[in-house]
């Protein structure tokens, strides 16, 4: 011990441990003073990934802020009470009147018909004289609402979405009929303050007065009309807190009302959920960008440490421990990563402002751009953790750089694996990264699957790279020098192979997943449609007129198939004794508990369903109410046969026992219900029927147009929803979402291109040496160029083949397991993306090698 103390080992140990962090930072900073040379790719890789995450998060948060701050406007009041198929009772109405100013709107779907028989589906919104309580309706020409709606010459006035004018080739001033009412289109509807609360519209909006709706005759017992009562509190605008007591009082006073109550602080929960869900996917794409960029980080750190070997060995010769060396370069790497992450976060923070400025006018949501420190800090955290996860390995190797290299030329073989604790730290950091990503996303399960898949693909691509190099090393010796050089470059130490296969393969796999899912969705919605989907949904068929409707359809389309069932709207209020709001549902089935759902009753097992548990009630069953539940929903809500479900229908709570579980084929686009009740459960309740019409040959435009025209004359109150139009609408929305996902995924390819650029820069020294030596012995630039092109082509091809394969497998799994429809490999876009990736590899590679080819042998040889 004395000897140790004499030599200073013990005392220094204590002193050094105290100031290691400070010393590491000081040394890291000293090295960085000279600039960030060699860290370009590192910084870009981190900045791109962080930008993607910060940008997506900031835009989403700004959107949420916009939606949140415009709560009154979007909701159309401080509180709204939404009722389906019924009006508020006297008592309910009195309660609302007593708490403030009230406005009532009615929402329904109807057929708008022109005088010459053309028709289309419209989303009708009928308003009272108090509408709107907040904001203003904008029309072209701008008219006061009372003037807009005035009845002139038996026609009611309306404002209409310009899309309807285009669709039916109409202009302002023309007339249409809705049910039995004549409507004069007096203005184009260009601004509707509460538009978002309506959800996705299947047709253009028609804004009419309540009187016009009454005159149309569309409102019949059981009609699918949603009435929304909006309440403006007297102290409105002072505090959100004033709203809560009224909401609570409403729920306690009318526990069985079955209404959906929303407050201005949660005006559009569904929209917010969708924004959140979509943000999650974009964030995961951003994380993949970081994963791709991580390869660049690892390369950059390795190259940097290779340049610093002398300095590191010198420091160790002067008393630095391996741990100190690690601490110094780890601190340096974190400083550089912080720099890149801050750049990415700053650009991401700007994104909401750019989006608002550039697209504010066309985005249907209010965007309130502002800084979101939480989002930015999280994105920087992701950036730093990724950099750390990828840099720990090469940094760990620096621990063992030997001082003896300063004394002799021959260098001891470098350890391929860093010490155990660095390997462990890498695993821990990666696990933390994954855990944070899973915890901070909307759907933990999907995030976990995504991350597991990304890591799986990453590991597989690493193995592919190892295998490629192994095979290249063992190929028989080639006669052609060019081929030999290309193959040697594929497997030699420091080759581009692992970098390109990892980064390009991963980026391409992600893009390919998005492309293939998009292609399959398109195919499912369009190409696959005629074989199995109905042509029409008919809504609001009065139960009393149902037989006449059947005859009407069979007369006009004798070869078609008509499927008609009763439909009511109801909401689940409790299941197995637990209130709906307290039920724990898996994400895939939460929608069942949100708002009201279509429900039916039947004596037979519905078409497209099969019983998977329990027994169907007999055809003449007349006992206590029973319900058949869709099996996946039952599993997600943890409900079993024999347990009770309470559903509120038309303001009345109905209890039914689960009798059986059904597997439902949702794909057939037929009439499918989660809840099917036994006959007699709703006896006496007014209801209408819903029907599908399927033409034997899939139907054509002429047949479809003819039946709509005839229907308009015979059943003006029945609404026909053309399935093709609906799917077009949905397809349009999906295309926009896929475009955004594809755009975000492209960032991963940009990151991959930078990683490739970085790897090329790092290997430049070897390439210049090769080129110069080969030129000295007679190689022409053309031959060298051919050798390099072959090398990039081989590596690129392998990356593309495996990237495409893995992306396609991922897409196939998602399509078949999650979306549950058959997968078909879609070539078109996939081929284009693969070709682009290959071209980028070869062009980037050759561009990066051009310097090497241009060097004069003498100038390099002198300095060797």
């Amino acid at each position: 011990m004395t000897a140790l103390a004499d030599t200073g080992i013990v005392s220094r140990n204590n002193a050094a441990s105290g100031g290691t962090a400070q010393l590491a930072l000081r040394y890291a900073w000293r090295e960085l003073r000279g600039g960030l040379h060699g860290f370009g790719v590192f910084i870009v890789c981190i900045a791109l990934g962080v930008f993607a995450i910060a940008g997506v998060g900031s835009v989403a948060a700004s959107l949420a802020d916009g939606i949140g701050s415009a709560g009154q406007l979007l909701l159309g009041g401080d509180l709204s009470f939404s009722l389906i198929q019924r009006e508020a009772t006297e008592a309910e109405r009195s309660f609302m009147d007593a708490h403030g100013a009230l406005s009532v709107i009615s929402l329904t779907r109807a057929m708008a018909r022109t005088s010459d028989g053309r028709s289309t589906l419209v989303e009708v919104k009928a308003v009272d004289s108090a509408y709107p309580l907040f904001g203003a309706v904008v029309t072209d020409p701008q008219l006061r609402l009372d003037k807009l709606f005035t009845q002139n010459n038996s026609a009611f006035g309306a404002a209409v979405d310009p899309a309807l004018l285009t669709r039916l080739d109409l202009k302002v001033g023309d007339r249409i009929t809705i049910g039995n009412a004549t409507i004069e289109l007096r203005a184009a509807l260009t601004g509707e303050p509460d538009k978002l609360t309506g959800g996705i519209g299947l047709g253009p909006r028609l804004l009419i007065s309540d009187a016009a709706l009454q005159a149309s005759g569309l409102i019949q017992p059981g009609s699918l009309v949603r009435r929304v009562y909006r309440l403006r509190l007297p102290d409105s605008g002072t505090s959100d807190r004033a709203v809560t007591p009224v909401e609570k009082e409403a729920q306690t006073t009318f526990p069985d009302a079955g209404w959906e109550v929303r407050t201005r602080s949660k005006a559009t929960p569904q929209l917010e959920r969708n924004v959140e869900r979509f943000t999650q996917f974009l964030t995961l794409v951003g994380l993949t960008t970081l994963l791709v960029g991580g390869v660049g980080v690892a390369n950059a750190v390795s190259a940097h440490l290779a340049r610093k070997r002398d300095a590191i060995a010198t420091m160790k010769a002067l008393g630095a421990t391996g741990g100190s060396v690690f601490a110094i370069y780890c601190a340096q790497m974190l400083l550089v990563a912080l720099f890149g992450a801050v750049i990415g976060a700053a650009l991401g923070a700007l994104l909401p402002y750019i989006v608002s400025w550039a697209f504010g006018a066309i985005i249907p949501f209010p965007v309130a751009p502002s800084l979101h420190p939480g989002v930015l800090v999280l994105s920087v955290f992701y950036g730093l953790l990724t950099a750390l996860a990828f840099a720990l390995w090469p940094l760990g190797r620096a621990h063992d750089i030997s001082v003896s290299m300063l004394f002799r030329d021959q260098i001891a073989a470098e350890r391929h694996w860093p010490r155990k604790h660095y390997v462990l730290a890498t695993v821990v950091i990666a696990a933390i990264l994954a855990a944070v990503a899973v915890q901070t996303t909307y759907d933990h399960r999907i995030a976990a699957i995504f991350i597991a898949a990304a890591v799986g693909v990453f590991v597989l691509l690493r193995l592919v790279a190892i295998l490629t190099m192994w095979v290249a090393r063992r190929l028989p010796r080639q006669g052609s020098t060019i081929l030999r050089l290309a193959i040697a470059n594929i497997h030699r130490p420091g080759s581009l192979t692992p970098t390109v296969i990892l980064s390009l393969g991963l980026g391409l796999a992600l893009l390919m997943t998005v492309i293939e899912i998009d292609g399959n969705l398109n195919r499912e919605f369009t190409a696959a449609l005629p074989e199995k989907a109905p042509s029409f949904f008919f809504l609001d068929i009065p139960a009393t007129d149902a037989s006449r409707f059947d005859v009407f359809v069979h007369d006009r389309a004798p070869a078609s198939m008509l499927d008609r069932v009763p439909m009511l709207r109801g909401r689940i209020v409790a299941a197995n004794g637990i209130r709906a709001e307290d039920l724990k549902a898996a994400p895939g089935s939460r929608w069942v508990l949100q708002g009201d759902r279509g429900i039916t009753f039947s004596s037979m097992v519905p078409a497209g369903s099969r019983i998977v548990a329990g027994n169907w009630w007999g055809p003449d069953y007349s006992g206590e109410p029973l319900v058949s539940l869709e099996s996946k929903t039952a599993e997600d809500l943890n409900l079993k046969i024999g347990e009770p479900i309470t559903v509120n229908v038309l303001g009345r709570n109905v209890n039914a026992k689960i009798a059986n579980l059904r597997a439902v084929d949702w794909e057939n686009l037929g009439i499918n219900f989660v809840l099917v009740f036994s006959p007699g459960t709703f006896s006496g309740a007014p209801h209408s029927d819903i029907a599908t019409l399927t033409f034997a040959d899939g139907g054509n435009n002429a047949e479809e147009t003819a039946i709509i025209k005839a229907l308009g004359d015979a059943f003006p109150n029945v609404t026909a929803v053309r399935v093709k139009d609906t799917l077009d609408t949905l397809d349009g929305i999906i295309n926009k979402l896929v475009l955004a996902l594809g755009g975000a995924s492209s960032i991963t390819l940009i990151a991959a291109a930078f990683v490739l650029g970085g790897a090329l820069a790092a290997s430049q020294r070897f390439r210049i040496y090769d080129a110069v030596v080969l030129k000295t012995y007679g190689a022409t630039r053309a031959r060298l160029l051919a050798a390099y092109a072959l090398e990039y082509l081989f590596i690129g091809l392998i990356s593309v083949v495996f990237g495409v394969a893995m992306g396609s497998i991922a897409a196939a799994l998602i399509v078949t397991r999650v979306m549950e429809f058959p997968f078909t490999w879609v070539a078109g876009q996939a081929g284009a993306a693969a070709f682009t990736a290959l071209a980028v590899t070869v062009v980037f590679g050759l561009a990066g090698t051009f310097t090497a080819l241009g060097r004069k042998p003498a100038e390099v040889l002198r300095n060797l």
């Binding site: 200073g8 080992i9 010198t314 421990t321 004394f407």
Partner: protein
Amino acid sequence: MNDISIHPSAGDIVALRGVDLSLGRGAARVHILRQIDLNIGRGEAVALLGPSGSGKSTLLMVMTGLERPDTGTVMVAGQDLRILDEDSLARFRGKNVGIVFQAFHLIPTMTALENVAVPLEFAGERDALARAEQELAAVGLAKRLHHYPAELSGGEQQRVALARALAPNPAILVADEPTGNLDEATGHEIIELLFRGHRERGTTLVLVTHDTDLAARCDRVLHLHSGQIDRQTSSVEAIAR
């Protein structure tokens, strides 16, 4: 046996016994040091002479704990280097051993002052920069404190390296061909500074060189051949040869 101690005593700063070292693996394995026994006294100046590949630098590395022998014991400044782990060895070197390399090995991103302060800072010295400044002044570079290595001549760089090696007042100063990369005049200046440091601080000096004149300035000259110390001479004998 290669027992080359003239005056083995408790005052020895270096004591090697039966040191044997091979490097490389399999067919490429080379026996570099063979059964070396060596004592070097405190304050002594010893030169290692020999042809390339004779094991001079490796012997230096064994003495400084940079290389572990396959067999044998290495005692330096009263410390058995075999029992120290890698980190303890690094700390030991930082305090007790100053190294001057042929290729200087200054850290290019640090100024002269910062380079000299490195061993002091790693040793946790609070006044590292002030002491580094004194050391640089002592080698005549008081006006080049804030210059980076690339802004210094070869001779100046080696002076910085010497100041760095002497800064912690090491018990033993080793120099591996310190003038190998310098012209004759500059090399001479460096040697003067090296010996001045050795004299004034009483530091033991171990010098690897091909230069017999330079070796002759040391108290003892050890002649290495094929990994063995085949003889030793006093400085007078060396000059005579």
